[in-house]
Symmetry: C2
Subunit: 606 residues, 2 copies
């Protein structure tokens, strides 16, 4: 019978750590391997590898350790808190450790004295710690200082000089949540950064969307770093609240944010190891020469607008969902919305609520999960009031999520969505009874894995499913053949009368932006962005085990990709910021890539 | 020997609580008294008395209990956490309790089984809880709702209607930190409130002050409710940062804030039990009819500008410190600053830093405490990074402060300032050696009691004292007789050449605003505002044991006064908001005043 008390479990973890630290001190790969299960997963977030990778199995771990133990100097691995027995019977332990560059947090799951999963995450660089808590700035300068300048004066001068007299170290293109959060982290790390966005104000990316939009993730998933929402914040924030929050966050966190700025072109200059970026800032051309370029324009590329015969003859209004102004003005009008994912449902519902006659065209199967069910079954353990009461704040929840290798995540999610299916059996029966094509993903792993694999293919139901079920939103299956003057005509010849056509048909891949901004050659060299390589629909292999090209060195020196929902950008912006800081500070960053030559440092200045 | 383990100490407290609860259940005043030390202090924050009072000694406690036990129904008093042995050897216990109206927190210090201090603080009204944490709003409305309105639309309409189609329940005059924090609390309690201020934007009260101004209280004292500063916030925030924070706080907390609005007159209409308030809002006259009127214009009244012969002939610039634009433009000029408190020192230092020739005129003795010393000795226990690490957040620190009756506070502070005196012995010797008249208050209780008694008479030294010590700021003692064309002339005939005269001569009492806005008769009936009645300079008796007229019913129905530094307004705004909510909700609020007739409800609608 396994030990159960905290003390016994911690003792077991400490025994393991004794051996682990001894093996690390000796830089003895085989001694480390002897402490790992043969099928062990080791996930490293820039602690050993200056990369974000999961290596699977003893051979891959051995290759990683051989290449990194000497350079990384992982050491002094200790329990961060008492160990605990996990739900699967393993001993779970949170760890603290040191490396050559700084300090980190880790996690290990032990079964029969061998690690089945290991997480190592670098969290701070020695000598470059964030100025938080005990390290916070004093604010006032005590003493008598001739020609003292106030904080406002210094801040204004600094902002005016950046990009004019002083080149930024980092340029972030895209000022949505991803760009803003990264800007905040880089400010705390003293890395001169400019965040640019084509919209005038921070938050406009949300503000300008259709007016019924609310976050689909609950508040506990959505906190930004440093400044959590107040506990009066709604569970599902309306888009204008999020917009305003992002705007004030930019101000509070002293982010150098250039609105109304369009990135026209970027070219990496091998000799100077700087980018040459052409921006159009409020109509004026500005050229910047940053060392590092971060694309944070969202997972999505250009709007996918299907090309259909007859579009030019259509007498009504037609636009992509990203350009949909909201339902006002469409009362009594006939709307056809092509698509059946989140945006399609949200837009159909708002149009119905406003009194339009609405038809949804479903082209392929969609996964639907009810918002209440998502909250109660999917998110509750990590992101909920109950989790907060159990001491799981957003950062801890993120680390718990990160401790589970993506290969194993599918199984965990399949079990969760089995519960969802059972919980809402009657709902799904009615939805399918109404003719809606529904799936739980290719392997029953639901929304969570669809998000990671393809960032599409689902709807979090906040009420519109019932409109489809009872026919208030008309549902039509099949593919659109063409547009007539006043109708959408399906392949089977059915004509759907229409004054408005909304193409809720998704977006192209993010690589399109890379090709457009830099070059098709670089886009092709960098390869796919997002997706795990699961080999499922829209996520072709090979298996990568991490989100591709996100938050880590790419095949293009100085080019970084940053994207994700609020939870992902909150967590992974830390590792991206630390990588950028390390390069700015001249800290050696030998990047290890599985499969690639060991120690290849293809994205370092050092 | 007294018990020392937590369990033993908690047992002692629980024994006491058993008797206390039994006595409360029986509504038996003498049984309660038998559990109190004869010299017991009982501080009540609206839990028993719907008043903020400290009653001292058994007789006064008996009178309070006789008048309130039946109406308040204090009951179910239990330990909120294990009890602890206090520094003075008493058993200290944090309590939770219920009353007829709601739930509260309490604190008791026991010596030999008898209470020497009791605190009872109402913290929430049953059925009117704040929408926080598990009670937070959902944000999105699930389902399909015809003609749904977005959050932004509803919020905009609500704001537009308030004061036009809908009369506010509460009007707060003064939109500095006090008014803003109260507005936030009333919003959470669903009390329709308008906060007005004569400046255009929230934070202008800080923004428009001299540019070197920083907070003199460290960050841990300064948090606003609901939305604490991020842990990157500076220890002593520059005024523009605080200004910006207040502005965004107004937005995030959905406060109906009317800038550029001057309150011209207010009259209480006995028959309707509403105020008739005349405002000038952006030049337009607006009349409001709130039930409750809160003055939050600051402890200070009108600037005190001394009337001196020759002022009209003075050729240079002269203004009160409140109108001082900052030191820019005064390089090389001869400045005479009259006064020797915080503003005088700050202004002198900034003028010197800018290159002016500066003279400070000290008219009477001032207490000086070095900022570092204040931080290390005075604030550290409750408001510091160390306190946070020990689990003392701002709310807990506030409650700890509140648990100490003001009568006893003087002794505690005297001991603290004895440490300060010893710590900075050499500094004070040099300061006095430079001719500066220095004191630690009439009874050696330093800045903390000066603040509570008179809100003046001290300087928190951030560097200017050294300028006075070494003569870079010239120090002149005595009274000013008159102004000449280019000089300030002292009573002893000394002429101080001057291009600029700054009157850092303080402010009149807050009652001046009451007289001006409402009437001299009401100002006189309400009586002094601020001060404890300590009988020391500028705080004449009789002893009141609380800050006079602050956050509690005044002698004028429907009139409330709200003021203080950030720490005080953070904490006491809760009790003020609960009193206003109780009246709005028709909850019986029988006010007990010591000395007054029991149960007199002179400020309730019920």
């Amino acid at each position: 019978m396994a030990a159960t008390s905290t003390a016994e479990v911690s003792y077991e973890a400490e025994q393991w750590l004794d051996g682990f630290n001894a093996a690390l001190r000796a830089q003895d790969t085989s001694a480390v391997l002897s402490l790992l299960d043969p099928a062990c997963f080791w996930r490293d977030l820039i602690a050993l590898t200056w990369n974000i990778i999961t290596v699977e199995g003893r051979d891959a771990v051995a290759a990683m350790l051989d290449a990194t133990l000497d350079s990384a100097q992982l050491r002094e691995v200790v329990l961060a808190e008492p160990a605990a027995r996990g739900p699967d019977g393993t001993v779970e332990a949170w760890l603290q450790f040191r490396t050559r560059a700084g300090r980190g947090l880790g996690h290990v799951r032990l079964r029969d004295g061998a690690a089945v999963t290991v997480l190592t995450a670098l969290r701070a660089l020695d000598g470059h710690e964030e100025r938080r808590g005990p390290r916070r700035p004093l604010g006032v300068e005590h003493g008598a200082i001739r020609d003292r300048r106030s904080w406002l004066e210094r801040r204004s001068e600094e902002a005016a000089a950046l990009g004019r007299d002083v080149q930024p170290e980092v340029l972030v293109i895209g000022g949505g949540q991803a760009g803003i959060v990264l800007g905040a982290r880089l400010r705390q790390l003293d890395v001169a950064t400019v965040v640019v966005d084509r919209h005038p104000r921070p938050g406009d990316q949300w503000r300008r969307r259709y007016k019924s939009l609310c976050l689909h993730d609950p508040v506990w998933m959505d906190h930004l770093p440093y400044l959590p929402f107040p506990d009066t914040w709604p569970v599902f924030a309306p888009k204008d609240r999020i917009a305003d929050w992002l705007e004030l966050y930019v101000q509070v966190m002293d982010i150098d944010y250039w609105g109304s700025t369009i990135a026209r072109a970027a070219r990496f200059d091998r000799s100077s190891e700087r980018w040459d970026v052409t921006l159009e800032r409020e109509g004026e051309v500005v050229r910047l020469r940053p060392r590092q370029l971060v694309l944070a324009t969202g997972v999505s590329g250009r709007p996918n607008v299907p090309v259909l015969p007859g579009q030019e003859r259509f007498a009504g209004e037609q636009h992509h969902s990203s350009a949909h102004p909201g339902a006002d003005g469409y009362a009594g009008r006939r709307a056809v919305v092509i698509g059946s994912n989140n945006s399609a449902f949200d837009i159909c519902a708002a149009l119905w609520e406003r009194g339009a006659d609405v038809t949804m065209v479903q082209r392929s199967s969609t996964h639907v999960v009810r918002s209440e069910t998502a909250r109660d079954i999917i998110f509750k353990r990590l992101y909920s009031e109950e989790a907060v009461a159990a001491g799981i704040d957003a950062d801890r929840a993120d680390l718990i999520s990160a401790s589970l290798p993506y290969r194993l995540a599918a199984g965990v999610h399949r079990a969760i969505y089995d519960q969802v299916r059972e919980h809402d059996r009657e709902f799904y029966a009615r939805l399918e009874g109404a003719g809606f094509k529904h799936d739980f993903g290719p392997d029953g792993t639901g929304m969570s894995m669809k998000f990671l694999r393809r960032a599409s293919g689902y709807y979090i139901d906040v009420g519109a499913a019932e409109l489809v079920i009872d026919g208030r939103i008309r549902l039509v299956q099949g593919r659109v053949a063409r547009l007539a003057e006043e109708a959408v005509v399906m392949e089977d010849g059915t004509a759907l009368p229409a004054d408005l056509v909304v193409y809720a048909t998704g977006y192209g891949p993010m690589s399109e932006w890379v090709a457009e901004l830099i070059s098709p050659e670089v886009a092709s060299r960098v390869g796919p962005i997002w997706g795990l390589g699961s080999g499922t629909e829209r996520d072709p292999g090979p298996w990568e085990g991490e989100l591709r090209n996100l938050w880590k060195p790419t095949a293009q020196p100085g080019l970084w990709i940053h994207a994700g929902n609020l939870a992902l950008v909150r967590h992974y912006s830390l590792y991206l910021a630390l990588q950028l800081k390390a390069r700015a500070a001249g800290i050696p960053t030998s990047v290890y890539s599985p499969g690639g030559p060991a120690g290849l440092d293809f994205n370092s200045n050092v």
